[in-house]
Amino acid sequence: MGAQNSFLHFMHRFVFWVLFAMVSCFVLRVLIVLDLNKRIYNHTPGPCRVLTEKFKGTSGLAYVESQKRVYVTLGYGKAHNLTTNTGIAFYNTNRTDGRSQQEIYDLIEMQINWNGYEYQNMFIPTGIDSYSSSNGRVLLYVVNAHPDHQCIHFFQVDNQKLNYRKSICDSSFTSLQDVAVVGPDRIFFTNMAAFGRGWAQVIEFALQTGQGVVYYYDGTKLAIAAPSVNAPTGLGYDSKRKILYVGSLIRESLFAYKVEKDMSLEVMYEMMLLTSPIGLFVESKSGDLWIAAHPVLHETAWHYTHVDRNKVHSSSQILRIRIQEEGKSWVTTEPYANDGATISASSAIVYTDEQMIIGSTFGRLLHCDLTHAHIT
């Protein structure tokens, strides 16, 4: 009886301390992820201006080299119950085409021809990418983040109009984020979390269960390219080097995958950023990466759960990663950072011709000139 009592006593103490250690580790991990000891100190790479603040969201950007256009998705805030129009617009980056000083910064909203698509009223675009074929045809692939209609929509650009082509929808799509094009109608896209929105998603992130997925669509079939990624967000594809970059919100890192001939993904390396990447842009010539990030995650969490409060900002950050020695090393610079007063929760980035266009989750589209692009 005495022996049994002391054994039970030992087991109680053992179980208590194991549970204590587990809970302590969990709390520590949550505290580190929340970035409570971080803040953003403002700086710009040159003069900046706001291109639009009409929409509650300018969260996706895609650059089409052949047209010198940046396509912008508008109105992502509607997915979080904000009142806003949604749609797609473009910005012409060409400064020498004869437009006036005022017209240079115009954003052109596009008319969408839905060709009778029955769910056209459930369109909340976010991630976007493009494919330019050799005959000059430009195709756009747009993530629809509507809570009840998560899909990838395929469009063709017709001057200032978009013609709807088709959609991929699936019940497993709960939190679509971004898309990357690897060929005509061949795309990778990310589903960030098993739960779409709200506190369920916050708890999923806190537990860091890693239930995000990278999908691959080959034009006819849908497949899982990378299962169990911890909160995958932005995608960037380097077509010259056949590398797919995937951002991880919770790990605060970037995964580089080699895209094999059969389109399977092989992990090359993980780049620890210590900031949460949301949008990615790859400079096709140099292979350099641009990242739009949420640098202070507790601010982000607060901002996404209080979207209707204008004063609840989230910091914005743009990083530039210069890849060296074929991915063996890299140099990181920070061209832009803001505490949220100018642009809140940066979510997309495009760089071209010493210009930077920054999109945000629920707010403004910003344009900056880079005074010293070679050292920025």
Binding site: I32, N42, H43, T332, E334, A337, T371, I375
Partner: protein, 343 residues
């Protein structure tokens, strides 16, 4: 200790290393109307053994009107203890006859502390020793502000005299530093049981700014020299370890900071190891009129390979250039091609 932080590099323009002070540029003292800056080099801080100090303590001069990227070594004459001269914080006062008087926080190889007063002979380009002041309230002096020909404010950045003692002080939170006022004859505590690194007075001499570096805050106090009294106005949280200060003509506070403290501590532990370096950050802080709020612009951030553990920065040439000083390495001179007022 900032284990989840890192620095993302950016510069305000082209930057170049300044030759000369290879063993540090911990503090600068700008003489605005002469367009020169003095640089203290070779600071000794919590040395393990006197034999670990393999460098000389020196004072350099930099001409802010030339782009020489080279600082000139200025001889210091008639010192009581030449071997024990390792300068730290600097300040100056212009005497009635126009002479520049330098006030220098000095440590020895055995980490004894004193305040050395030097007069600058412009013609001969030398510093002449005037007086050495020792006081039991100069516990571990760091920075100094001259308030008259013989009076000054001095900060103590802690109480421990050894590395182990300092570690204990940091982790326990029982700080023994503070701010002391010396009126030429006697010293008075203004702030006790605190940590005070860089200190500076506003240009109108009414507001005192104190870097509480271990708490990553900047304390703002009103300063009454007549009554030798301070009153706390606010404490601004910076979330980075700000070191020394400079107030520019627009009343912006410039400071060199240590954004990732663990790397700076590793660098301090072995100053001569070139593979260890500390990240740097230059902030320009603008206070609200009541000093209760502040806006921060990050002018420069570096992982340590160009600017290693920044301590001080200041603008000159109408804000088109800046100089950045470091604890134990060369300073850096940068052009500024950006605007900082974008709200």
């Amino acid at each position: 200790m900032d284990i989840n932080k890192r620095v993302y590099n950016h510069r305000p323009g082209e930057c170049r290393k300044v030759e000369g002070p290879e063993q540090g540029s911990e503090d600068f003292e700008v003489i605005d109307d002469r367009k020169i800056a003095f640089i203290s080099s070779g600071v000794v801080y919590l040395p393990k053994e006197p034999s670990d100090v393999t460098w000389k303590g020196e004072i350099y001069l930099y001409d802010l009107t030339k782009r020489s990227y080279k600082a000139e070594l200025i001889p210091v004459l008639n010192l009581d203890d030449e071997e024990g001269f390792f300068p730290h914080g600097l300040s100056h006062w212009i005497l009635n006859d126009g002479t520049i008087r330098l006030f220098v926080v000095v440590h020895s190889k055995t980490f004894q502390h004193s305040i050395v007063i030097l007069d600058y002979d412009e013609k001969k380009k030398q510093l002449n020793h005037v007086k050495t002041i020792k006081d039991d309230k100069f516990i571990r002096p760091n920075d100094i502000i001259a308030t008259g020909e013989n009076s000054f404010l001095v900060s103590n950045d802690g109480g421990a005299q050894t590395e182990l003692g300092n570690i204990w002080e940091i982790f326990s939170g029982f700080y023994k530093g503070g701010v002391v006022y010396f009126d030429g004859k006697k010293s008075t505590y203004l702030l006790e049981n605190n940590v005070a690194n860089g200190i500076i007075l506003s240009r109108n001499m009414k507001t005192l700014f104190v870097s509480h570096i271990n708490q990553e805050t900047i304390g703002v106090y009103s300063w009454d020299q007549t009554n030798v009294a301070i009153n706390k106005i606010s404490e601004i949280e910076t979330l980075t370890g700000c070191d020394n200060f400079y107030i520019d003509h627009g009343n912006h506070l410039w400071t060199g900071c240590h954004p990732v403290m663990k790397d700076v501590v590793a660098h301090f532990g072995n100053r001569s190891d070139a593979s260890l370096y500390g990240p740097s950050q230059v902030l320009r802080i603008t206070f609200s009129n009541d000093f209760k709020k502040a806006e921060m612009v990050e002018v420069l951030a570096d992982d340590g390979r160009l600017v290693c553990a920044s301590t001080i920065a200041f603008p000159f040439d109408d804000g088109k250039q800046i100089l950045v000083g470091t604890v134990g390495r060369h300073p850096v001179h940068c052009d500024v091609n950006l605007k900082f007022d974008f709200y």
